[in-house]
């Protein structure tokens, strides 16, 4: 499998696009026709061939462009990447995990050669060939977490585990659903989730924390989360909200299919061996409404989910004002036929749209 990397942008002219292949493997987040919070964790040990679940760290056609966008965000605002002093060892853990995983899972794209602590890392898509000493920060251009996450899609929250809680003590956050690492760094699990409505009352976070603290070496886990974004904008940060917020008002019935994107986070969780920290990669996938509507099952289901979503959630996810226009668009793709369980497209078995 060779990946053809797109040359695209996630800002200004928004030339981002999904190929046919990318649409088919999009991680549609609704396994049934309604949505409510749940812990919805499963083991992260592969999945269907060429799905986003197959590899430990999915690399897709957006890789090179996403890394270019990340570099631009960091140049504008270096506070998007921070690591409290005790988290350096966890940063090395993460560097090792990603380098080993990617070189094993994508040997045609990445190579890792190790001779004791003398390591050589080759990243062909980004044109990097770097020799360094493992655990010696002086041999890297920046900290180990920053170094490797400038070469890995998705955001990364690195969590220290102590005092029966998880603490967000390091991270690389440039493709976030409207939360600020600079503000949240140092918070515990309940504190950084404090603004999320309804879930605390349902005990979701107590159960999720218990599950996460028991994730062990060699047994990673994953779940999906989602929100909505107008335009394929990766950096929907609170920092820049005063600049991008206005874009939410630019939807029209004519442009909504192309402009409105379902934003899905593939969240994975790995125990880091040397530090006993937990890394929480949050990988963002974007897909426009019009591309999603090519899959009849997704069209039917998205309409029903958005229609029936509690008001608090639509507000929290930031699309309450646009919901009527979304439903106006989506209703044409819901013919009332039943949908099959699970998130996969089922193109061969699901009936085509009947109107």
């Amino acid at each position: 499998m060779t990946i053809q990397f797109n040359n695209e942008s996630f800002r200004d002219d928004y030339s981002f696009y999904n190929s046919e292949r990318a649409i088919k493997r999009f991680p549609f987040p609704f396994h049934e026709d309604s949505y409510m919070y749940s812990v919805n964790m499963e083991q992260h040990r592969g999945g269907p061939v060429d799905s986003v679940y197959e590899m430990r760290f999915d690399v897709d056609e957006h890789y090179v462009s996403e890394m270019r966008d990340r570099a631009m965000v960091l140049a504008d605002d270096p506070l998007r990447c921070q690591s409290l002093p005790h988290m350096t060892l966890a940063g090395w853990d993460l560097l090792e995990l990603i380098m080993v995983s990617k070189s094993e899972d994508y040997p045609d794209l990445f190579e890792l050669h190790r001779d004791g602590n003398k390591w050589r890392w080759i990243n062909k898509p980004l044109g990097i060939d770097h020799s360094f000493t493992f655990l010696d920060e002086a041999t890297l251009p920046c900290g180990p977490m920053e170094y490797i996450t400038r070469q890995a899609q998705g955001d990364f929250a690195v969590l220290d585990q102590r005092d029966d809680n998880l603490w967000m003590d390091a991270g690389m956050v440039t493709t976030q659903a409207d939360w600020s690492l600079d503000f949240d760094i140092g918070m515990n699990f309940f504190e950084w989730h404090a603004p999320v409505p309804l879930a605390h009352e349902k005990g979701i976070f107590v159960r999720a924390l218990k599950f996460l603290m028991n994730i062990q070496q060699g047994a990673p886990a994953r779940r999906l989360n989602w929100t909505m974004t107008v335009n394929p904008l990766l950096d929907t940060s609170p920092e820049n909200y005063h600049k991008w917020g206005i874009q939410k008002t630019e939807l029209t019935p004519q442009n909504i299919g192309a402009k409105q994107h379902l934003r899905v986070e593939l969240q994975t969780f790995f125990r880091l061996p040397r530090s006993n920290a937990l890394v929480f990669p949050i990988r963002c996938y974007l897909c426009s409404f019009q591309d999603l509507m090519g899959v009849p099952k997704w069209g039917r289901r998205l309409h029903r989910v958005i229609r029936d979503l509690p008001e608090e959630l639509a507000t929290y996810k930031g699309f309450i004002d646009n919901r009527p226009m979304m439903l106006d668009y989506l209703k044409d793709f819901d013919d009332g036929l039943p949908t099959s369980p699970g998130i996969w497209p089922e193109l061969d078995t699901e009936p085509p749209l009947t109107r």
């Binding site: 002093p85 005790h86 988290m87 060892l89 655990l135 220290d160 585990q161 102590r162 005092d163 028991n214 062990q216 070496q217 060699g218 047994a219 061996p273 040397r274 530090s275 006993n276």
Partner: protein, 320 residues
């Protein structure tokens, strides 16, 4: 699925250290590298002793960065149910065994400005790995190690030789004791205390530190309890719809596993909380032995930790 991932290993060394303690070295059976770990981690060792399967946790004491082998030290417990006796008497170099991936319930707080280690007897083992980890990163640490006698002081000589300034050894038979109040007094702000040893020692350290105004978060402790033998008892498992007998020399958890009941676990020593089970009904007395539930929960009769706790009485119905 219960427990951590498994690794098949070969025993490559069995070294008796003294009358009570023997060290075992494990290498991967397939010749590959073992996972790295963090100081304070343990592995759960599977023992097949005749028809009985036991899974006992032991602290990893080798260098966390060394992926060629793990070592553990096992203290013989003549009163116990036979897990340590099995290790001492049956396990030979060359044997294959199954152990779990490392799990850490006693990790270093890497923010600490200083790490103060207090070990009692075989409780020295997790500190051996933590010391190696801290040495690698120039950590600030100090060890106070109490043991019965020089003859039973596992690793006391090596530690004193390697780290003469950091190591302080106390022998009971020479009436040497840790002067805890004095030791705690004057430690710099940001010091963390770690204690591993018998229950009495852990309680003493926690109580003394609290009285001296040390915050709860600065005190870390670990004691793995071996399940104790006890009178057989019967338990009804509501979900699996089975009534099973827990034998004298097996734990409630082991009895459920014998009957193929899916019961979660991790440390099997009353520390991690994974096996916590809801009690639906009971008539009799619980023999709670875990560190997980608090006193109120022990008195409440609503929860039990089947890895180490038992029951005496007429009826026990569990939500499994």
């Amino acid at each position: 699925m219960s427990g951590a991932e498994k690794i098949t290993v070969k025993v490559t060394e069995v070294v008796p250290l003294n009358e009570l303690v023997t060290r075992f070295r494990f290498e991967r059976a397939d010749g590959g590298l073992l996972p790295t770990f963090s100081g304070g981690a343990h592995t759960v060792v599977e023992m097949h002793d005749g028809g009985i399967t036991r899974l006992n946790p032991y602290s990893l004491m080798s260098d966390p960065m060394d992926q060629t082998a793990y070592t553990i030290s096992v203290r013989r417990d003549d009163e116990g149910r036979g897990g340590s006796l099995f290790m001492h008497q049956q396990v030979k170099a060359g044997d294959e065994m199954v152990i779990s991936f490392p799990v850490n319930l006693f990790s270093l707080d890497l923010r600490a400005k200083k790490h103060l280690f207090l070990a009692g007897g075989i409780g020295i083992t997790p500190f051996l790995a933590q010391i190696k980890q801290l040495q690698r990163f120039n950590g600030n640490w100090e060890l106070h190690y109490a043991c019965r006698s020089a003859a039973l002081g596992s690793y006391a000589d090596e530690l004193t030789d390697h780290y003469p300034n950091e190591t302080h050894v106390y022998y009971d038979d020479e009436k040497q004791t840790i002067d805890l109040v004095n030791l705690l007094d004057g430690q710099p702000l940001g010091t963390h205390v770690y204690v591993c040893g018998p229950k009495g020692m852990i309680d003493w350290v926690r109580k003394t530190a609290a009285a001296e105004g040390w915050p709860r978060e600065a005190i870390h402790y670990e004691e793995f309890l071996a399940p104790q033998p006890g009178k057989p008892f019967e338990v009804k498992l509501a979900i699996s719809n089975k009534t099973i007998e827990v034998g004298e020399n097996e734990s409630l958890l082991e009895a459920m596993e014998r009957e193929n009941v899916d019961a979660p676990y991790l440390c099997r020593g009353g520390a991690c909380g994974q096996c916590e089970t809801r009690v639906i009904d009971y008539a009799g007395n619980f023999i709670h032995r875990d560190h997980w539930l608090d006193d109120a929960e022990h008195a409440g009769g609503e929860k039990i930790m089947p890895c180490v706790s038992r029951f005496e009485g007429k009826t026990l119905v569990l939500d499994r």
